[in-house]
Each structure stands twice: as C-alpha cells, then as structure tokens.
Amino acid sequence: MSFADSFFAAKFGITTRDLEGYLSVALDRGGDYADLYFEYLATSSISIDESIVKSATQGVSLGVGVRVISGERTGYAYSDDLSPEKIRHAAQVAALIASAPAKVGKVPLHEGAKRNLYPVLTAPSETAFRERVELTQRADKAARAYDPRIFQVQVVYADNLRQVLVATSDGVLNFDRQPLARMSVFALARETGGIPQQGHAGGGGRYELDFFRTERTPEHFAREAARQAIVQLDAVEAPAGEQTVVLGPGWPGVLLHEAVGHGLEADFNRKGVSAFSGRIGQQVASPLCTVIDDGTLGGRRGSLNVDDEGNETQSNVLIEKGILRGYLQDKLSSRVTGATATGNGRRESYEHIPMPRMTNTFMLAGESDPEEIIRSVPRGLYCANFGGGQVDITSGNFVFSASESYLIEDGRLTRPVRNATLIGNGPEAMKFVSMVGNDLKLDEGVGVCGKEGQSVPVGVGIPTVRIDRMTVGGTA
C-alpha cells in the first residue's frame, strides 16, 4: 500500500506536503530533529460477571503528537484535533524547546520498507460485536463447568485497532495498522465455608478473531483460570528466605523483563542511572543465559512492524551466554550516544513521549530436560505462574509475585504454596542460573508493561530454569 492509500491520507486527506510543512514549523526554532505521530485508536470491550454481560463498550480517540529534539532536550505537544491550524499550533509549542535560527534543511519524506507481521484481513474490532460476546460467554460457561467449587467467574474481552502514521525530519514516513485482542478469565473457588482462592488466565495477540476459535479457545483460558483457583485451595504457607527456585516455562519469563530488561533500556543508561550502566561486555548472568528482545515475532502481543518512531523492529541480543551485549534504544538515546537504532522506541499513545521499551523478551532454550531440572532439587520452590513484577532500575532490586507455585521435596513437586513475592538484584540474580531447559515457551499474550506512567503491550518467555539462590518472601 502506498501512502496515498493509507488510512490517514484516505480518511483525513493528509498529504506528504502537509507533513513536511508541519515538520518545518516544528524545526523553525532551531531544533535538531522533529517527528509527528498520528494515531487513530478504536477500542471495544465486553465484560461478564455473574454470567451476565454487564458491560459492552466501544469508542474512538485520535490525535497527533509533535516532538522536537534539540541536543538532549525534548519538546512535546499534542492535539486531539487534526485540523491544520491545531497541528501547526502543537508544532509551534514543541518547537520552543530550541532557541536558535532554524538549521535543519528540509529532507523529503520517503516511505519505509513494508512487511506485515500481523497480516490480519479483518481485525477482531471489525467483526460483528455479537461474535465477540459469544466467545466471551463461552469462557464464563467453561470456567463454571470446570468444578463445582468455582463460585465466581469474570471474563473480560478487549480488542483494539490502532492506525498510526509516523513522519520524521530525517525523511522517514511509515504507517501501520496494529490489531490487538485479549481475553482474560478470573475465577474464584472455595470449599463449603472455606476461604475463597483466585485463579487468572488469559491471552491473545495481533490475530484474527479466529485465533480464539482455533488456537486458544475461551475454554482453554477458562479451564486454566479455574484450575489455578482450585489448586490454591490446598495451598500451604510459602517458605521465607533463600531457596533454590525453579521457574516453569512461559509467563515466568517476567523474571527477564524485571531483572534485566528494564535495566537495559537506553534512556537509563544514557543518564547513567541503571544498575547495568557501563556494563556492556561484562558477565551479568550465568553462561547458560542468552536473552533476546524480539519485536518481529509474527502475531505476538509485543510485536510491531515499525516502532512508534517509525523504525522497523528487530531481534536484539541483550545477553549472550551471560555477557551483556546491548541496550534497547529509542531515537533520542541512539542520537545522543551514537548507537544504532534497535526499533524499541514505543509510546502509549499520541499524548506520550516515546521511550525505549521492550517488545517480546525471552531466554533461548538450553539443553536440560525440564523433568531432570526438578529432580535435581532436593528442597526448593517451583513457580509455574506469576502475577506482576517491579524493578528499581537504579539499585537493580526487582520483585515478581508467584501466583502458582509448589514446594519441591526430594526432586518432586509436592504441596502448592500461597502467593509469595520473590526478590533479587538484577546484575547478580541470573548468575545463579545453573540449568536451562530445552522447553522455551512464550507467554500466551497478556503482558502489560508500565514505565513512567505509560503502558504498552509486551510478551515474555523462558524455558524451565533452575536458580540456585533467590529470596522467597513467604512466612514459613
């Protein structure tokens, strides 16, 4: 598709000439670089509670963000009105970050290369609403049918279709259509008269709605949420103190996201405020660990054809056999430090300034048999599922909260334990990885990453790994 046929050109009559005009207004005060980010976002959501479809919502928002970079300084303004005078006004406001005569010559816009990691003909948002309601109802039914002890089920289905257009003063012109859908199931279980326990499962990606009929059905997520709630009914107190920890494959990859991913975002390292600052080439994990951030995986939740600064996403090696190799870059940090773009400049919406962010972050598979990893542990904790995590990138301390875990006793999984937080220090924790399984699995597509008030969809993945020492925050 050429620009003339693209969404913003067709719907709002925007021309490359208009874009070049706005960019020169943005650079009028002497800025070094400017970009425009147009966004049209249509969202829908359905929620079921007590088997009643209590809510169905849809809506649209649109706007344009104008950014000007002058040295290391950023000026930003946005408008939710795409009239030329409002866009020019935003460009004038952003331009004020610089104060010198205009110096950047005009570069004609060139359309970027095209590829499509999510060739979705009809986005879920474009299907009949009723079809999506029916899928959501199937999840409610399946969770309730799983076990008579399930007494509450909530299902939330949400999708969106984002049209973006990026134009930059260095001549990049890119546009993209980004579909995304997710289903989440929450289940509560209890024995008669007992304490309720909860389970949660969900997933999705940048796929057609058929993904929920053929790949991961509502019943799949429902049974998983219900299973987790039932398992928790027998949970005992979690241990307290340093333990050998085995992480199961998939979502527990959130470890990588917190322990190393955030600390490798280039803005923190440009400023020297990350525990990983200045450590490229150093050993930060055991030689068994190779960690990748890959924004090019077809259909994945964290994938993008182009990042929110118009650069193609790519597969980036963060840690290779335990050695720190690279940071995740955005435009500003790569300009200032002379690094090559990595396609990690992302933002929540047109109202937000882009920052280096992760896409899909995972560890490559190793050689150990997962069963053998568990058998190797005389006493420890096996974590199958996690809730969220958080990191203090400056000290490097991170946590992640286990939502389904089991005691390992004499090489066997025994009793389930209650929710507990695991804590470690980024550049140190992964040095204790002593076995890596051959069973790399990516998560099912539920991740949301928050940074400085901006949320973006991400993916994680990990094979089964054994970590010889990590502090577990239980009570026993």
Binding site: V53, Q58, R73, Y76, G388
Partner: protein, 452 residues
C-alpha cells in the same frame, strides 16, 4: 471542538436528549477536559518540556436492564451522533441485569459552596517560573552532599481540568480542578552502588507548594539514607511503616472494602460488617468533602454527593464503599463512591481515605523498638485482597535498640492483612494530607522479614 468549558454542560445535556430520542430509557454522559504541562530539568538543563490539552466524552445508556457504552474524542455533532448510535447498538447485545440502573433521583445532588479545588492562576504560572522551580529542586538535591552524584531530575507539573456529568434523571453538574507539583529524584552513590529515592510537594496552587529547595533536600536525604544497604537474615520482627508506606497499606484495605469485591465475596472483609477486624484505636475514614484536598469532589461519577463515611471505627468494620449498583446488589445505600473514566459502568473510588492519627510521635514509636524494620519503600504487587495474603519487596532501615541503625534492601515483608490489622501496635501522630490517601506512621507487632 472549540467550545469553552462553560458550554460543555449543555453539550452533555444535549447528548442525553439524543440518547433518549434514540431509544435509551436512561442515560449518563461524562465529559472531561484537561490541560497538562510538565517540565523536567536534569543536571541543570531542561530535559523535556510537554504542554497540551485534550477532551473526551463518554456515554452509558440503558435500554430497560441492558447497558451499552461508548466514548469519543471527537466532540463535533458527528462525533457525538456516532457515540450515541454506538452505545444504543451495544445495549442490544448485553444481557439483562436485574440490578442495572441509575441512582434514585433523591440520591442525586452536589455539595454546595467553594470546595477550593480550582485556582485559575495554576493555569497561568509562567513557564520560566516552572522551569526555575524544577531547576532549583534538583540543584538543592545535588548540592546537599557529594555522594549525590547523579539525578533523574527535578520536575514541575501542572494540570487544570474540568469534569461535567449529566444523566436522564435530571442531574447536571460540572466542576473544575487544578493542581501543581514539584518533584526531585536524586541518585546517591557509594562504592559504585547507586540508590534512588524521591520527594514531592503537591498543591492546588503554586503558593501552597513547599519550596523547591526543601523538596530537593528531602529527596536527597532519602536517597542518601539508602546507601550501603544490606540484606538481613530471615526473621520475625516488629515492622514500622513510614507514612508513605502506611498509605500503600491503606490502598490494600481500600480494595478489600470496594463494594464490587464484597458482592462477589472476593474480599477477606466480605461478610465482616460490624465485626472487630482491627485494633481498638484504628479508625479509617473516607471523606470526599474536605475543602482543598486531593480526594475531594462535589459529586461522584454518578451524580451522587460525596460524604464522610467511617469505614473502620475503633477497630470495627462499619461500612463498605459503594456506588449505586453495588448498593443495590448488597441491599444497602450508595456511599457516593462511584468512579469511572469517561464511560462504562461506574467502579468504586475513594475520596480522602485516611487513618486517624494516634498520639505518639514517630520518633517515640521507633525508640520503642528493640529489633525491627522501618520500611521506607515497598515494591511489587504481592497483596491478595481475596485471601489477605501479603508479601512485598521492601527497602528501609533496621532499628536496633530504638535507633535507626543501618539501611536494608532486597528483603520482603510478609504476613496477612488480617493479622496486620489486629497486630497494629502503634499509630503515630504524624498524619499529613499529601494526596488522596493519607496515613500516619504505623507499627505492626510482628511480620516475617525474608532475606538471607
């Protein structure tokens, strides 16, 4: 699009008329607008400067007992028309909910008088003055000690917004609000290890902000006192929460008294009304009416006036926080705690949610601890308000023989919310309203600290 704020109530009323004409039996419309400004100064130079404004409208309709909702950022007649059609269409696809509905007409209303939420002057603080305040906050932090080696900057934010709400039962209300803040985030270094902390001041207008230098110095002191932190051995000890952390504990209790988790039986406090769940001197209030504070508003997001609701009084659970829907589910009355973005069913929010102060100073509380942990930061989401299980990453200072002895990090604190509430040994006299959730220092008799 260029309607002034004063014209938005009429737009909301018109939206309701259109929704009713299109077949809705009831409708609610919210319009919100906001202008934001933020500047961050890092190592003495302006790092980012952002300035913009936006608006949005949302509609929720009921056709009988079925709901549909929509929103738009396009406030032109076309945009509003599309939003109305969209909500009406969706109402045909949801299921009848016997409890769906608007608040009863006699529950609607708005507090009278000036709640001191809005100062026009906040919108016109000169940019140079804002940059200067951010710069001075950072400079004061950097100047305090040579171990403050780096910084994520000083910043000044200001925000002026307005909210309009109308419904088909005759409610039409609007209010504006303003705030501004100064923040500093300095980084301290010792033997190559870095620590970061922050401090801020938040006010409805510039003249009520703490001075920039004082914000910077407090932030620097907080970063400095974390230097050289060690991991302690796993043990059970008394844990003292500084006010900022006691506030986060109140946030957990808020989730557990949210009417939605009560009717679903998804809270450890469900079915406990009238029971003693905390120590005698524990009194937790939600009050949306206190002039000038950050949890104050004249009406909630369903057009019900805000009020003062004792949640826990002298240790006894007195009230849940409800909107009209959860009230109908539970056979109770709304407490004026409806909260939502611009569309969808209302959730539950709090007003000024605070723990009443005790009598002893924080210094006296610390002096009374022989061996314990003073918590200054908590990270992670390890609180389960369904079961009450509590386990979070913690940073703080070890207390030895009544003195703050040495910094501690990379540990967790764990227990259950039930035991924490009944195990509160002291409540400090240092209650300050610094946001919409406020608490004094709290000492909990015993929790598990997991470390080495």
């Amino acid at each position: 699009m260029s309607a002034t704020f004063d014209q938005l109530p009429e737009l909301a009323a018109e939206t309701i008329r259109q929704a009713l004409a299109a077949g809705a039996t009831d409708a609610e419309c919210t319009i919100s607008e906001g202008d934001e400004f933020s500047v961050n100064v890092r190592m003495g130079e302006v790092d980012t400067l952002k300035e913009a404004g936006s608006r949005g409208a949302g509609l929720r309709v009921l056709i009988g007992k079925r709901m549909g909702a929509s929103y738009t950022s396009d406030l032109t007649p076309d945009g509003i028309g599309q939003m109305v059609r969209s909500a009406i269409d969706l109402a045909g696809l949801t299921t009848e909910d016997p409890h769906a509905g608007l608040p009863d007409a006699d529950a609607l209303g708005s507090l009278k008088g000036d709640l001191q939420l809005y100062y026009a002057e906040t919108a016109s603080i000169p940019t140079e003055e804002k940059i200067d305040a951010a710069r001075r906050a950072e400079a004061a932090a950097l100047a305090l000690d040579k171990r403050i080696t780096n910084s994520e900057g000083g910043s000044f934010d200001s925000n002026v917004g307005g909210r309009v709400f109308a419904n088909s039962r005759g409610f039409l209300g609007a209010y504006r609000s303003s705030y501004c803040s100064i923040t500093a985030v300095p980084i301290a270094t010792l033997d190559g290890a870095m620590e970061r902390d922050y401090w801020f001041s938040l006010a409805r207008r510039r003249s009520e902000l703490e001075d920039a230098e004082s914000v910077g110095r407090k932030a620097a002191e907080r970063s400095l006192r974390r230097l050289g932190a060690i991991k302690v051995e796993t043990q059970k000890v008394p844990v003292v929460f500084e006010p900022r952390m006691a506030r986060s504990l109140l946030g957990n209790i808020f989730e557990a008294v949210d009417g939605r988790s009560i009717y679903r039986d998804a809270s450890f406090l469900a079915g406990k009304l009238g029971e003693k769940i905390a120590v005698d001197n524990f009194t937790l209030i939600d009050d949306g009416t206190i002039p000038g504070l950050f949890g104050t508003s004249p009406f909630d997001d369903e057009g019900v006036p805000t009020r003062r609701t004792p949640v826990i009084e002298n240790g006894v659970l007195k009230n849940y926080l409800l909107n009209s829907y959860t009230a109908r589910k539970l056979g109770m009355k709304t407490t004026g705690n409806a909260s939502r973005g611009i569309t969808g069913n209302a959730g539950i929010g709090h007003g000024n949610f605070y723990l009443e102060a005790g009598t002893r100073s924080p210094e006296e509380i610390i002096r009374g601890v022989k061996n314990g942990f003073y918590v200054t930061e908590l990270i992670g989401s390890g609180v389960n308000t369904v079961t009450g299980d509590y386990s979070r990453g913690a940073v703080g200072i070890w207390i030895r023989d009544g003195e703050l002895a040495f910094p501690v990090s990379e540990v967790t604190i764990a227990g259950t919310l039930q035991e924490m509430l009944t195990g509160i040994a002291e409540i400090g006299n240092d209650l300050e309203f610094r946001g919409s959730v406020s608490a004094p220092t709290i000492k909990i008799g015993e929790m598990t600290v997991a470390g080495r």
